[in-house]
């Protein structure tokens, strides 16, 4: 699982707009994500900038405006491969109204492929899986292979 945490110099509502407004997100995301409307169960469509990389489609799994967004996405017409689950978590900075802690996670969806596009929320690749995987992939296999 990928996890990144940063502090952004805006309040949570402003950050939420930058994350979810398709026009605004296009300025930093590296492509355009359309989700209309922005609510649980809505489909999403990602069109990469300048045609680099595959277009993707997906679905929104959870929306709490100003706080939390979770979606899964996969290469267009191919939910069987590279299905991942993305989450944005926004938390107000305890000491400043104009700062927000943003956590981004992206994790492979570790279930059989057909589940990705289906309605039930699939099992995620967890941080525990990731740490264990890295420990032995790094320290053991890398040495022996």
């Amino acid at each position: 699982m990928i996890q990144r945490q940063i502090v952004v110099p805006t309040d949570p509502d402003r950050l939420w707009r930058a994350l979810t407004d398709p026009e605004e997100a296009e300025t930093w995301f590296g492509g355009r994500i359309d989700w209309t409307p922005l609510e649980e169960g809505s489909p999403l469509r990602f069109t990469p900038a300048r045609g680099d990389g595959p277009s993707r489609e997906g679905r929104i799994d959870a929306v709490q405006p100003g706080r939390y967004l979770r979606f899964r996405w996969w290469p267009e017409n191919s939910p069987a491969t590279e299905c991942t689950d993305v989450a944005y978590v926004l938390e107000p900075d305890p000491s400043s109204e104009s700062a927000t802690h943003l956590t981004v996670e992206e994790a492979p969806v570790a279930v059989d492929a057909t589940a990705c596009a289906s309605v039930s929320t699939p099992a995620r690749w967890t941080l525990d899986d990731e740490m264990q995987f890295r420990v032995w992939a790094g320290s053991r296999l890398a040495v022996r292979v």
């Binding site: 300025t27 590296g30 680099d52 595959p54 059989d112 492929a113 264990q132 032995w136 022996r144």
Partner: protein, 119 residues
């Protein structure tokens, strides 16, 4: 990599198997990781060898080995009456590389996001 859009390049396809779901589904299980670890240390081993150190049946080990095999993470060879299993390293490296690539894409996106919000 030639053209790099502002948020970084798109994810290139997962290389060796093209099936991240199978690789990560296989790796997301503690027992299967344990089997891979034993095979990487002492392999090739048979299902009976592997079941020896575990509180699960040989039959359960065989099922886990089949899942690992379907994901391309182990391969098997018949030697006489025995089937021996060994680790296939490439899909593991590909899986790690793929995750790291996703991380690099987010690094670029987040730098661009902070820059955008600071303007």
């Amino acid at each position: 990599m030639g053209r790099v859009p502002p948020g970084g390049p798109g994810l290139t396809p997962f290389p060796s198997t093209g099936r991240t779901d199978e690789v990560f589904a296989a790796l997301a299980d503690r027992t299967r990781r344990h089997l891979l670890e034993r095979l990487s240390e002492d392999g090739p081993l048979s299902a009976t060898d592997l079941a020896g150190g575990l509180p699960i049946s040989r039959q359960a080990v065989v099922k886990h080995l089949a899942a690992l095999g379907a994901a391309g993470l182990v391969h098997s060879d018949r030697r006489g009456r025995e089937v021996l299993f060994a680790v296939e390293a490439e899909p593991l490296r590909d899986a790690t590389d793929w995750l790291e690539q996703i991380g690099r894409i987010w690094d670029r996106r987040l730098v661009a996001l902070v820059k955008h919000l600071s303007e």
